[in-house]
């Protein structure tokens, strides 16, 4: 493969690739994103490969290509398999289903109803992926090609129009024009803070110094968020293309992508993307003959949430501990190796090629007045359609959770949705009609964050949620500044005490003071936003705190010290399953007689409730 030396050569290649593809020929997209992988999709892929090979050898079937794609988004229904061009969507596919799929669908042209999606409300079967409400209600821009291309093959990206923004930027636009376009588009940072991207680029471009860096923050530390990972796993070139364009606009020749260590597949796919882009002349020396040089290095995180903060991330790339520093001097002026550095989130970079291709006004037509474009969320927790979703900014929480998300799993009452990760807050039922945009979420006491959206139902204890986030942050604090390090320790101690039934009236005032000092005196955003989970749950769920403190009661039935497990005599058949499994031998009873739990011995582990087939164990 000789390096492409001009935009014309790239277009020639694109046309060639497209011409080689037969739109009428069947091919199968199998999701190998981490979620489906965890459900066994690799085995499905292998089985399909074997089944097809057998039939090819027996001359029964034409070539049916299998594309192993990145995350297709509907994680709840994984392993996923989509047959093109018919767009037939099969869910919960097992290796044992493969033979039938080949016989019935690929060869016979018939669908297998047990593998098809069934709408839970209407009970209707939906054959095509596009028609499934989960997908239909989204606006998939960054995720458009996630389920259709092989992330390890650059030609797939080129075939769907990838790397068309790059020549446009390099050859027909000046750097300042590019920056103007990004500014006019209204694109705001997708890492959480929502700073206007174009303005950041301009500051970096204008900062004095010849050596500048662009960085992609793929640390994605928010527990429950995996949007960034999915984008890199399924479409790494979309991020790379954005970075190259940004580097050109800013005047940088060296980029870094910082991927958290827990994402080995993302690292692998991005590494491959870099290799291939280099090979094709789209990265490295004299890109497409433009005279512009740009290279990218991959740095892996070391398992530290704080390294998602930009100054800590920079310190980590420099080979140091992830201690943030004060931002009197901004990273765009003095960042990596003290040079002007432009750091953006994965999703921010992935938006850039779209904006360059289709223009600032097109982008600005999506979303709201102050929050343009789409928002990506990992919609998880007590929600029916767990998965990765992309919706226009301004959609309401209700539409997102109920229309796209399919409502609360378990059929129980919706209680709250948590956004913004450990820096965010919980939004209650009353505010479900809030639009999803930067300002609305912040005013409600939460924030957009990077995109984790966790749905909670009546079985979620909000005090426990506050404690959980505080424990997380306490563990992840770098420990440099007193207010964050000691403040979180104290906050956790108070919350732990409340959850253990040792809460006192004075705890609430103490918590408020602690929240004030952690928010007011901390060095970096980990500290200053750390009180948000506590503050938002105090604001909307104060009653739960008071129940824990005054009544020593956990309304949601979660906090162990405040609940008891009891066997309902009417339902208990005396089968003895719980008795056998109880680790403390706390359950007694004769065969076929109702059993009883000795509260003195019970450690509330919940095993009895798990193994009981008669729903006879209740938590009160």
């Amino acid at each position: 493969m000789t390096r492409l030396a001009s935009p014309a050569e790239l277009e020639q290649l694109r046309n060639y690739i497209v011409s080689q593809r037969r739109p009428d020929r069947q091919w199968v997209a199998i999701c190998l994103g981490t979620g489906c992988r965890a459900s066994g999709s690799e085995a499905v892929s292998a089985a399909l490969r074997n089944a097809l090979l057998e039939r090819r050898l027996a001359a029964q079937i034409d070539v049916v290509e299998i594309k192993e794609t990145g995350c297709q988004g509907f994680c709840e229904r994984g392993p996923l398999l989509v047959i093109h061009p018919q767009n037939i969507f099969y869910q919960h596919v097992k290796p044992d289903d493969v033979e039938e799929i080949v016989e019935e669908t690929l060869l016979g042209g018939r669908t297998i109803s047990r593998l098809l999606y069934r709408n839970p409300e209407s009970n209707e079967i939906v054959v095509k992926e596009h028609d499934i409400p989960f997908y239909r209600n989204q606006q998939r821009l960054l995720l458009a090609h996630s389920g259709e291309i092989d992330p390890t093959d650059i030609r797939d990206y080129i075939a769907v129009g990838g790397y068309s923004a790059l020549p446009k930027a390099l050859f027909t636009m000046r750097p300042d024009e590019i920056i103007d376009t990004i500014i006019q588009s209204g694109l705001r940072g997708r890492g959480g803070a929502g700073f206007p991207t174009g303005r950041k680029w301009r500051s970096c471009r204008n900062a004095p110094g010849d050596t500048k860096y662009v960085v992609c923050n793929a640390d994605e530390g928010d527990p429950g968020a995996y949007m960034d990972r999915s984008i890199i796993e399924s479409n790494p070139h979309s991020v790379l293309e954005g970075m190259i364009i940004g580097a050109y606009a800013i005047g940088s020749h060296q980029g870094y992508i910082y991927v958290r260590q827990e994402y080995p597949l993302a690292v692998k796919h991005f590494r491959r993307a870099l290799e291939q882009a280099e090979e094709y002349g789209l990265l490295g020396h004299n890109i497409l003959g433009s005279g512009f040089d740009f290279s990218v290095k991959i740095n892996r995180g070391g398992g530290a949430f704080v390294c998602g903060e930009s100054t800590a991330l920079v310190a980590s790339i420099e080979g140091k501990t992830g201690e943030p520093r004060a931002k009197h001097v901004h990273t765009v002026e003095s960042g990596l190796w003290d040079c002007p550095t432009n750091l953006n989130n994965v999703k921010t970079w992935a938006n850039v090629p779209h904006i360059i291709n289709r223009g600032a006004s097109w982008f600005a037509s999506i979303g709201t007045e102050n929050s343009k474009g789409t928002a990506l969320f990992s919609l998880v927790g007590k929600v029916n359609n767990t998965g990765l979703v992309e919706v226009p900014m301004g959609i309401t929480l209700r539409e997102l959770i109920f229309n796209v998300g399919g409502g609360v799993s378990s059929g129980k009452a919706f209680k709250a949705v948590q956004t913004g990760g450990p820096s965010g807050g919980c939004i209650p039922r009353d505010l479900l009609d809030l639009p999803v945009d930067f300002e609305s979420l912040t005013q409600a006491g939460s924030m957009m964050g990077s995109g984790g959206m966790i749905v909670m139902d009546q079985d979620t204890c909000m005090v426990d949620v506050a404690r959980y986030f505080t424990a997380f942050l306490m563990d992840e604090s770098c420990g440099k500044c007193v207010s964050c390090r000691e403040g979180l320790v104290q906050m956790h101690r108070v919350l732990q005490g409340i959850c253990e039934g040792k809460g006192r009236e004075s705890d609430l005032a103490l918590l408020q003071d602690l929240c004030d000092v952690v928010a007011g005196a901390s060095l970096c955003a980990l500290g200053t936003t750390a009180p948000n989970p506590v503050l938002s749950t105090l604001r909307y769920f104060g009653d739960e705190y008071r129940a824990h403190i005054h009544e020593k009661r956990c309304p949601a039935g979660v906090c162990k010290a405040l609940i008891t497990f009891q066997i309902i005599t009417d339902k208990c058949t005396g089968c003895g399953a719980c008795l056998r499994r109880c680790p403390q031998k706390a359950i007694t009873g004769e065969k076929k007689q109702p059993h009883v739990i000795d509260q003195q011995l019970c450690i509330k582990c919940g095993v009895c409730r798990d193994v009981c087939k008669f729903d006879a164990v209740q938590v009160i």
């Binding site: 965890a38 994402y263 095993v607």
Partner: protein, 155 residues
């Protein structure tokens, strides 16, 4: 203990000209040996010029690194928010009870090491644990014993 230092030399060569390559080198050593043996760190210090205190500070800051050998099987419990809401703490407690160790520790017979991770990205099948890179999802405390037995008895 016997240490194959040739692997360490390879890693050192790879990062010799990397500005800020300390963390990458440590990651490669961790991957190769399953932990960061002191002799390996000393070689790193001698060859790449990082003082030992700097290496130790970085090695103890990041959770990815272990300064003690790990067990044959590494069990990571996902404590991400989605898994938490679906009952991950109970899974962790059950594992702790079965193995007799806490997060960051290794069983005396060196069979298992236990860790906590924040979000492996398999939220749809939470609560999830990752044992030796394999994900086990849709867990309940009742299923834990069988899984641990499976790995304990595996060669």
């Amino acid at each position: 203990m016997e240490l194959d230092l040739t692997r360490v030399e390879e890693i050192i060569d790879k990062y010799r000209d990397e500005r800020g390559g300390l963390i990458g080198a440590l990651q490669d050593i961790q991957e190769s040996f399953g932990w960061l043996p002191q002799p390996a760190l000393r070689r790193l210090s001698e060859e790449l010029g990082y003082p030992m205190n700097r290496i130790y500070s970085v090695a103890t800051f990041y959770k990815a690194f272990s300064l003690t050998p790990r067990g044959r099987h590494v069990c990571k419990v996902c404590m991400g928010t989605a898994c938490h809401v679906r009952g991950a703490p109970r899974i962790l407690e059950e594992i702790e009870r079965q193995l007799g160790i806490g997060p960051g520790e290794t069983t005396a017979d060196k069979t298992f090491s236990l860790d906590i991770v924040n979000c492996v990205g398999a939220c749809a099948i939470g609560p999830v644990i990752d044992i030796d890179g394999e994900h086990k999802g849709n867990l309940t405390p009742g299923k834990v014993a069988a899984i641990l037995k499976e790995y304990r008895e595996a060669t």
